[in-house]
């Protein structure tokens, strides 16, 4: 059974081409995904992300529970509204999902997890929560709209009321605040400024249409993928999954090793992986014609002259750079170039840090 978000009709009104995305009918584009991409880099675009799963974690032991559940440490969160990115790992140290945690108090947190992993996430969270005095509440009645781009904040401000504008005034990146009916966060998946706005379903269409009237470009999953890849942000299921260590997925920075006595799920396995060494996630840039695609074989040659296999985890054409970029998991060695097998040919590409574009400009 394919689900539709509350914005389904609004997408059709805007000329969306819809695809099946993990059981949801979602816009892939509204005509041209490249134009939508440029709108986000140069002005403002918006995405329906209502399919994402919002889970509130509340109760006396909410903090203790999340310190067990997540590889990042929610005890770092002390300012109301502050958000934290990180992985939820299994006992083997594989990534069950990546997610954002918002802190309201030590007894009140909000998680935003992927839609593709909703069922296993909820099952895992509930299973782990059974030893803790916490309540786990999914919030399917909430829709979510991401507004992103250099003009996103200004154009969003025009559709908010005075109290809401006061509530978000001067909000730093990676914070969220409840402002009237809306939960407004300075987070996103594009490498641009902007908001992710959680809105009750019955108010979502009006908000979408108001933003559209301000000139915010509706954008589909196609542009969302090229934007996040340029920003070097992982996509769950592609760049990492349960078989991949966060250390091999450029998520090492999200693991809070200190304090050592915090026994989060997967810690033991991760410590062993760290001692043994893991693959690493790098960026690839192709300066010739063609587009790297997920699944293509990569070869790097280490300092001893050994050819070591790797794989493209995400690849695309970067509309901002005008050439193909990719994320690839390769052996942990220092190399400046790699070979990617494309249409039966070995193509030489540059190996770079896994981030390509930030705030509209090449990194």
């Amino acid at each position: 059974m394919t689900q539709q978000t509350v914005l389904h009709q609004a997408h059709l009104d805007a000329g969306a081409k819809l695809v099946d995305f993990h059981g949801w009918k979602m816009p892939i584009n509204y005509g041209s995904q490249i134009e939508e991409h440029h709108a986000v880099r140069q002005a403002a675009g918006m995405f329906d992300v209502s399919h994402m799963t919002i889970v509130d974690v509340q109760g006396e032991q909410a903090q203790a529970f999340l310190r067990k559940l997540l590889a990042n440490d929610v005890a770092k969160l002390t300012v109301k509204g502050k958000a934290l990115y990180g992985g939820m790992l299994n006992h083997e140290g594989g990534v069950i999902d990546d997610l954002i945690t918002y802190y309201f108090s030590e007894t009140d947190y909000r998680l935003v997890v992927n839609s593709a992993t909703r069922e296993k996430d909820l099952a895992w969270i509930n299973q782990q929560a059974s030893d803790f005095a916490v309540s786990i509440t999914e919030r399917p009645e909430l829709a979510m709209i991401a507004v992103q781009g250099p003009q996103a904040k200004k154009l969003t401000s025009a559709v908010l009321d005075n109290d809401q504008n006061l509530a978000i005034e001067g909000m730093k990146p990676f914070f969220g605040v409840q402002a009237g009916d809306l939960f407004i966060a300075t987070t996103g998946y594009t490498g641009e400024q902007g908001y992710e706005i959680v809105v009750p379903q019955d108010k979502a269409v009006a908000l979408w249409k108001a933003l559209e009237a301000q000139g915010v470009q509706p954008c589909g999953l196609g542009a969302r993928d090229t934007l996040r890849l340029e920003a070097g942000m992982n996509l769950y299921g592609q760049d990492m999954d349960e078989s991949v260590s966060p250390l091999a997925a450029n998520m090492g920075w999200t693991i809070a090793w200190e304090p050592q006595e915090r026994d989060f799920i997967g810690r033991k396995a991760l410590e062993e992986q760290k001692a043994e060494g893991t693959d690493k996630l790098v960026g690839l840039v192709m300066e010739t014609k063609g587009v790297m695609r997920a699944g293509q074989a990569v070869t790097v040659v280490n300092e001893y002259g050994e050819a070591l296999p790797g794989v493209v985890t995400s690849g695309t054409f970067s509309p901002t750079l005008g050439q193909s970029i990719a994320l690839a998991r390769i052996a942990n060695c220092d190399v400046e170039e790699a070979l990617v097998e494309m249409r039966k040919k070995q193509v030489k590409v540059k190996v770079v840090k896994p981030v390509f574009v930030r705030n509209g400009a090449k990194v």
Partner: protein
């Protein structure tokens, strides 16, 4: 339903051909094909002077979604290519039957034209796919 001009002939692999007279035919891909592929990012064309055989892959249309082979609908010699596609591959999306043309071929055997589909028959093959 995508636009399928009645005066063109089509390959089941979504190329179209238009007679320019003197045995020269212009080749492109259909509106339906560009819709399936999405925004074009690179078009790799044959070289002028290349001999191509009907059914051979002779060009590549690389879109945001995938790289797709373009098959020669007719045999002959490539006499012109659309050089504008080098910098503006999006013309294939915006004007598949006009500015989005790919190459022109001087055919060696005009009877091969009979192997191609009429607009009506091509429309029927698309409907079967859907």
């Amino acid at each position: 339903m995508a636009n399928i001009p009645a005066e063109l002939r089509y390959a089941s692999t979504h190329e179209w051909v238009r007679s320019e007279g003197d045995g020269v035919y212009t080749v492109g891909i259909s509106e339906h094909a560009q819709e399936l592929l999405g925004d074009m990012v690179f078009i790799d064309l044959p070289d002028v002077g290349d001999d191509i055989d009907a059914g051979d892959d002779c060009a590549v249309a690389e879109s945001v979604k995938a790289a797709s082979d373009i098959y020669a609908p007719l045999s002959g010699e490539v006499v012109e290519i659309n050089e504008e596609l080098e910098d503006s591959p999006e013309q294939v999306n915006s004007d598949a039957y006009g500015d989005g043309w790919m190459f022109k071929v001087k055919v060696s055997d005009e009877s091969e034209l009979e192997n191609l589909l009429s607009a009506e028959d091509y429309a029927a093959t698309i409907e079967e796919d859907e």
